[in-house]
């Protein structure tokens, strides 16, 4: 969840004369950075290597994985996960599908919303901007667990959201029990597709899921979780856009004003291009975050209804600690890692500065 703008770092360290200081500095440097290095080695690098080893084992969690008592199976956990038509692969494919829909909704929504908030809060003609900035940022500081509990309350069958919907004459869904995807609900509702008798091409399989399942769309439960994330993370992203907006030189805007450009023209022609870097940053962070959803699922749905809120991170956890299949759980974690790296790389490539 991190992106340091290292480019803005201060000038390099001053060159000094060689002096007795040098020796002292060398020693101090090593000593000062030692705790951080030690913590990183012990609780990040070493664990990763250990987990990599475990992902090559058939380990049920009831022996010492480093004593040779657990069976070495090589890449079997990975092929089970990606190649073998079984429950684990189907679950993994389901979690990837869920996350793809999550990305599809969450990333654009949160980007547009937080940009909008930043624009409004940045308007100089409005008073009390500091207050509103605080209001919009407030959800970002609370824990996803506490927010999860609250949203569960809002979205229950007879809850506040459905109460509001009924005010405008809409009968709200039972959010956390309907296991169908939005696309499925629409298609079945209009009678275009009968889920009991799927046409051949919809019943065709890919990674253990039928085309009908791949195209399901997010379930309403997943939509509720997406609403939560959009709501709670838009404040943080608003700050990114706000800092971008505040970095736009006043002269540029004034020049556009003198040209007689309309508000919309100014926005399209001046603001938007200058906000490119902030946008890329926000999209990247939202994208990485989307692949890591865990807390909300743990608190709100545990993957149900119908596994439509199952995420890779949650699956990795339950495979390990629920089924006692730690090799499989570790393999999921590493595949997830690879996916995140891949998506970030692709996204960076698309978002690169063009000359």
């Amino acid at each position: 969840m991190v992106a340091l703008q290292t480019r803005r770092a201060a000038p390099p360290v001053h060159r000094r004369r060689r002096s007795p200081d040098t020796v002292r500095q060398r020693r101090a440097g090593v000593l000062f950075s030692a705790p951080a290095v030690l913590v990183i080695l012990l609780f990040l690098v070493a664990p990763m290597l250990m987990a990599l080893w475990v992902s090559l084992l058939h380990w049920d969690g009831q022996s010492n994985p480093f004593s040779g008592s657990a069976r070495f199976v090589g890449g079997a956990n990975y092929s089970e996960l990606l190649g073998h038509d079984g429950l684990l692969r189907r679950d993994f494919a389901t979690s990837v599908r869920n996350t793809l829909y999550y990305v599809l909704l969450d990333v654009p929504l949160v980007t547009v919303l937080s940009f909008g908030l930043a624009l409004v809060v940045n308007q100089r003609i409005l008073r009390g901007r500091g207050f509103f900035r605080t209001v919009f940022y407030f959800p970002s500081i609370t824990s996803s667990v506490a927010i999860g509990v609250t949203f569960l309350f809002l979205f229950q069958g007879g809850g506040a959201v459905n109460a509001i919907l009924s005010l405008v004459g809409v009968q709200g869904p039972s959010w956390f029990t309907d296991s169908r995807g939005l696309v499925q609900i629409v298609l079945a509702g209009t009678g275009l597709v009968d889920p009991g008798h799927l046409p051949g091409w919809l019943a065709a399989q890919g990674m253990g899921l039928s085309v009908w399942d791949w195209l399901a769309g997010p379930s309403v439960a997943m939509c509720a979780i997406i609403a939560l994330t959009v709501w709670s993370s838009s404040g943080t992203f608003m700050l990114f856009f706000l800092s971008g907006l505040q970095n736009i030189p006043v002269q540029v805007e004034e020049a556009a004003l003198v040209d007689g450009a309309s508000t919309w023209q100014r926005f399209r022609g001046v603001t938007l291009p200058l906000m490119r870097r902030s946008t890329v940053l926000v999209v990247t962070l939202a994208l990485i975050g989307s692949w890591q959803v865990f807390d909300q699922v743990y608190v709100m749905s545990q993957g149900s209804p119908g596994k439509t809120t199952l995420t890779p991170a949650y699956l990795s956890y339950t495979t390990s600690f629920g089924d006692g299949n730690f090799g499989g759980g570790a393999a999921i974690a590493f595949v997830l890692f690879a996916i995140i790296v891949l998506f970030t790389a692709v996204q960076r490539w698309f978002g690169r500065e063009r000359s």
């Binding site: 290095v37 990183i40 990763m48 308007q123 667990v145 007879g158 506040a160 940053l281």
Partner: protein, 282 residues
């Protein structure tokens, strides 16, 4: 022109009003419903006025009802012990490492900088099982040290402090050197005070992060006596109180867990927002 300006202002305030309702509404509903009886919360979830006003949920939260195992005091104590330890630990470790990387020339500096940057790219949830393995191997599973030490790994904070120290004018440091101050004294008496705003940011982020932390404690402990407030609420909601049971109690606990971070945020808000923006960190 003035007409258009007034119109724009009107639209702006309307948007802000809607936004405020949407962003504060859930918190108000949370607090209001924690003060209701179970049936009242179930049938009037949207109402902000409890009818009748009931402190039963809060009583339960504080253990005045034996029906549920809600050892709230233990949860809160655990949360504070862990959160404060992590915050203090990170402030020390991050500022020392940040200073070394920014200002001290020592062998391996570039490797460490690259390493810290690489660490930032590792997504947290990927570390669930790895962390469990290492804690188990070190015999730190189910212990406070196992809850605290792994959270001291904070690449973001190190880079933040590094940036902060790089921005301190070199002359100030040189002056201290000429006065004969050693590295440690220069660091503690000259550099750290100058980097105060960034220290506050790191402090708040650490406090907030470890107070709200769930996954690490989930894999680092199994004995309920190590439950923190966040973990306790999560396990209660996912376990015995799954679904639509006793929402007022759950909402009371959620409110309770929000208060400390809210207080910290409000107190340090000004430094925080500014610094978080300038460092570009979530």
């Amino acid at each position: 022109m003035t007409g258009r300006k007034r119109y724009a202002r009107l639209v702006g305030y309307a948007l802000l009003a809607v936004g405020t309702v949407l962003y504060l509404g859930p918190f108000l509903i949370q607090v209001a419903n924690s003060l209701k009886t179970d049936p009242d919360a179930a049938s009037h979830p949207l109402s902000l006025i409890p009818d009748p006003l009931s402190l039963v949920a809060w009583g339960k939260a504080f253990g005045f009802d034996t029906a549920l195992d809600v050892p709230l005091v233990r949860w809160i104590v655990n949360s504070f012990v862990v959160t404060l330890s992590v915050t203090v630990g990170r402030l020390v470790i991050d500022s020392m490492a940040g200073y070394a990387l920014a200002r001290l020339r020592f062998p391996g500096r570039r490797a460490v900088t690259a390493g810290v940057l690489a660490v930032m790219a590792v997504p947290g949830v990927v570390l669930l099982i790895p962390k469990f393995l290492v804690l188990k191997q070190l015999g730190m599973f189910d212990s406070y040290s196992g809850m605290i030490l792994p959270l001291l790994c904070d690449a973001v904070g190190i880079m933040l402090m590094k940036t902060a120290f790089e921005q301190v004018p070199a002359e100030l440091e040189d002056a201290a050197r000429i006065d004969g101050a050693g590295v440690l004294r220069t660091f503690a008496e000259v550099m750290v005070p100058l980097a105060r705003p960034s220290l506050i940011t790191v402090g708040i982020l650490s406090f907030q992060g470890s107070w709200n932390e769930l996954t690490h404690f989930l894999v680092a402990t199994s004995d309920p006596k190590y439950q923190t407030l966040t973990l306790g609420i999560a396990q209660l909601t996912a376990g015995p109180l799954q679904g639509a049971q006793q929402f007022p109690l759950k909402l009371a606990l959620a409110t309770l867990s929000t208060i400390p971070v809210a207080v910290v945020y409000v107190v340090f808000q000004r430094h925080f927002v500014r610094n978080q923006v300038s460092s570009g960190i979530k």
